[in-house]
Symmetry: C2
Subunit: 606 residues, 2 copies
């Protein structure tokens, strides 16, 4: 049994929800009127308890025991089975989903902040639940009443699992190459039932022994359908067939041919799935034929925000492990008192710098993801149509950012957590090296980070004739200008102003490159544009927090727990701007060179 | 048995040695006069063969099987035993060591370039040999004739292993806290023989079953000796006692109490060692009492350059895996031809950018380490005293840079290698994720990267009244100015000039901070100063290579293998300056804020 290092302090999550974002506005929306701010706080506290008592203790077992495969069956570590049961008994997986079908109906932002805690405690475990309810949500949105009755409650309550089957051995980032095919099954007596045949790869949770059934959502091409993504249809393919009354029927012809051995996420099965090897796989068409990709994207967009939530959670957990270790470990004297006694290493300047990287970075990720989820609540429920549209546009443009940037920042920040622990950080007793390994998948799955940057420059920046992006630039700039003389954050607003100029210049140059036919320059700098834009938006959110914290500091004793927290918040805002946002200067210096050496070099020189 | 992915092309190593650095000068030195440039090329080729045929095939076994511990004994995977035998039969471990005692007497730079290939093929294996010969070298330098006769040849030829025992559970970065004690052994009849008692932790190769004996070099405090590092003495502590005639005696009281489970380097044992648990451990004092730290530093400095060599080797191997994969994997169309057919992913702009990061970054690491080793050859053998001194000073100031910077850059670059492979990069079939895990130790051992930055700002920058550093700044600046109108590299020399200004400003500000008593600002920005200085020096080396390659390009057919290589070299030089050196702009923007938020925040806010 591994050691439980999960020790999140939920104060910042509560600050984001109750002191930064507009929780009153959420509570005014019809579906949330029965909740209260106090209940939201209780939910955060319950998530902390779940993380500390249930999920955290299973983390290291998951890594060390991992999944095992034998003859088509996959076993998940025993500790995870207990987690799954308790998670579902307490309604966590579908906390922010429809209560009509077993969900708890929480606002997305509350579910997200609680989810970040749970994911930070045990990412492998939470991926099973995230994918199951995300899957169910697609059936909720696009299925018939009959589909909903057959599948939803079982999925939202964790009786059945779910998967998302896109990738194939020869169709990864290019989903349009999917070869899995579907043909109508004349014997079925139901025109929505098709026979399915194909192989899917990298299927998360494709096989497991947590649930009695697994509902695969699968992209396949109906025979004769158009080429590319436009010919893909979405099918519900249960591992065990589900009868119209919801009871289980015969096993479907679905076989797990093996699992991957991975860098991390050892307890999360990644499967190769054979559908219809023996000609007996059936699936139910979800919605119209050839409309699968758009539907899958709805889930994918949700999952992309979820990726940012996971990155925030894991990075925060790495921070927790590092800060607690740094307070306990005594070693050497700091440079500013070099002949003094040995002190806890948290008093060493460089250790403090690394901890601030982790603190400011993980807090910025947290509020960034929460801000998107808050806006997705607004987009769904605000009574004002314009407000809804505006919020929807904000979510859309920021989704590729929150998917990509925190995943890559996390890799660099967890390096610091390992470094704070020194040799102990390289050993597996502490989970910091596991956090790095678990996190690494985030830049790859749900669309690689480069695909996110193409989504940003190819679709999102041009949305509404560029209006959404321009509004962001204007808003960031106005915020910086408005506060340029601030007594504490003057430096930071000045940095923000310069960074926003650079971000705007990226976009302007890209427009020029498209016009001038110098298109290769766009993808060459697209990920750096995405990172810079993300840092500017996160800097704004952090500075908003800094201003709020400063105001509140005047009302509390400095030494009180709130006083200490607000001081920490002010420091995080400054540190983020001065040490992370400043990366934009380096990226923009690179952009100005308009370097194409990577394209000019002959391919054989690699 | 794992798959062998090692496919290094040695062209760049030969370019560094024969076309960039001054090999003729080396060959003019007395100890190297019997060598020829052709022989050096043969040695590189032999190293490639050893990597491909012997070390590479064992890499994945090492990771998957790892070391096992039982009752004080450590077993290393069988595949490694074969490697060890063949390595030593071919004289690799002591290739650049004294031929009088079984070494091959190669120049350090040739040994280093060959060693980078071997280390890139199998880091875990090569650490055993590196530590053994480094250890032997200390005995060669500081032992008596009798010591040399007893230990050296056995160590240089791999019959016996060696270790370096500094760290203790409560003495990590602060070596001065070492508690292991030594008392004269009156029964021994030799005043150099002491009884040793203490516990050492994180001892690489502390126990293994590769060699019949293990010679520990151990830091201990002779009872009554001064506190801190000034009271530490160095002892030779054999696992099995060695009789004066070199034959093996009784087992010494040395016990391996356990091994660590680590993120990577699974086949490299990391041991907790109990010395004298039963009162029967004997060691031989090496040199004068209380002079151990300085001696250990000689080895440490060599090991620090070696760390840069390893980082270069592993990053280059990650690059090799990624570039070969990218040429084979067909997926999607590039943005500049988005409606075109699917192409090998090496034609996608972002994949190419990532490959260039890996190519330019690993080449820069290679030449950086080789440049230091070349200078250490000059420092040892040049007939001109002033030249020797100058070269020694260069090695000294750059040693912390080559230890620290490539280790951290490697972490970010191997991320790109994983990303090029996508989902496959996260799986363990390919070794890229293993490279990331293996490499991570480099920023921690041999003195953490922060300790390197303190060595740089606390000792090296001030050496000779600041003269060595100022000469570097002047030389970099002169090189940039001299070439400011270059038709191909104008942009790059301009960037170098700006970056050097920033590097100089770092140092100038640090001097100010010391004077003004704002000392905390120094360690707060010290690692960023080190990284920036390293990038400036590496940019110079890369631009030198770019200029040479351009000149040679005029003499060969563009499509010839040399033509392709030189074009690649020109691209690497540009890419390094425009995409990696530009990071200095971000770090300097951070410096200008003189941010101390990490110190101002109350400790409890962490």
């Amino acid at each position: 049994m591994g050691v439980n290092y999960f020790r999140r302090d939920g104060r910042d999550s509560k600050f984001v929800l109750l002191e930064h974002l507009d929780v009153e506005r959420l509570l005014s929306y019809a579906p949330y009127q029965d909740f209260s701010a106090d209940e939201f706080v209780m939910i955060i506290d319950e998530a902390l308890k779940m993380g500390k008592e249930v999920l955290g203790p299973a983390l290291q077992d998951g890594d060390r025991i991992g999944c095992t495969y034998e003859g088509g069956k996959v076993s998940i570590p025993d500790a995870f089975k207990k987690c799954w049961r308790v998670l579902n008994e307490n309604g966590w997986p579908a906390a922010a989903f429809n209560p009509e079908f077993g969900g708890q109906g929480l606002p997305a932002v509350v579910g997200g902040l609680a989810g970040e805690i749970l994911r930070g405690a045990n990412m492998s475990m939470m991926i099973y639940s995230g994918i199951t309810v995300g899957n169910g949500h697609l059936i909720e949105n696009f299925g018939t009443d009959q589909d909903r009755a057959m599948f939803l409650e079982k999925m939202y309550t964790g009786v059945w699992g779910g998967t998302m089957c896109l990738t194939e051995p020869d169709a990864g980032s290019d989903v349009g190459d999917v070869r899995t095919k579907a043909v109508p099954d004349p014997e079925a007596g139901d025109p929505r039932i098709y026979k399915i045949e194909g192989v899917k790869r990298f299927i998360t949770g494709g096989e497991q022994d947590l649930t009695e059934n697994i509902i695969h959502l699968l992209l396949a091409r109906i025979e004769g359908g158009p080429a590319g993504t436009k010919g893909l249809s979405l099918f519900v393919v249960p591992k065990i067939w589900v009868n119209p009354d919801g009871s289980l029927g015969e096993p479907n012809d679905v076989f797990c041919a093996g699992i991957e051995h991975k860098m991390g996420m050892h307890a999360c099965s990644t499967c190769t799935m054979n559908f219809g090897e023996n000609g007996g796989c059936r699936g139910i068409l979800l919605g119209e034929p050839h409309s699968g990709m758009a539907k899958m994207f709805q889930m994918m967009n949700h999952a992309r925000i979820g990726t940012g939530v996971v990155a925030a959670g894991i990075t925060a957990s790495a921070y927790d492990t590092a800060r607690i270790y740094a307070k306990e470990r005594v070693q050497g004297a700091p440079l500013s008192d070099r002949n003094g006694p040995a002190v806890p290493i948290i008093q060493h300047e460089d250790v403090r710098r690394m901890l601030m990287n982790l603190k400011a970075g993980s807090e910025a990720m947290r509020v960034f993801a929460a801000y998107l989820l808050f806006n997705s609540d607004v987009a769904k429920h605000d009574p004002d149509e314009l407000e809804r549209q505006r919020a929807r546009a904000r979510v859309d443009i920021l989704t590729p950012l929150v998917k990509a940037y925190p995943a890559d920042l996390g890799w660099v920040l967890i390096r610091d957590a390992i470094q704070v622990l020194g040799g102990a950080g390289y050993c597996s007793d502490f989970p910091v090296e596991q956090y790095a390994r678990d996190l690494k998948i985030l830049s790859i799955f749900e669309g690689t980070n480069y695909i996110q940057s193409l989504d940003l420059v190819g679709r999102k920046i041009g949305a509404q004739g560029g209006k959404v992006f321009q509004e962001w630039v204007a808003e960031l700039m106005a915020f910086a200008n408005q506060n340029q003389a601030d007594r504490d954050f003057r430096t930071d607003f000045e940095l923000l102003s310069q960074a926003v100029d650079m971000v705007a210049d990226f976009a302007q140059r890209f427009t020029g490159y498209f016009k001038q036919g110098r298109i290769s320059l766009v993808p060459m700098f697209a990920t750096r544009f995405l990172d810079s834009f993300a840092e500017a938006v996160m800097a704004k959110l952090m500075l908003e927090q800094g201003l709020i914290a400063r105001e509140k500091l005047a009302t509390v004793a400095l030494a009180s727990s709130d006083g200490v927290f607000y001081q920490g918040k002010v420091a995080s805002a400054k540190f983020f701007c001065r040490n992370i946002l400043t990366n934009v200067f380096g990226r923009h210096a690179a952009l100005r060179t308009e370097d194409l050496s990577a394209m000019e070099i002959p391919e054989e020189a690699f």
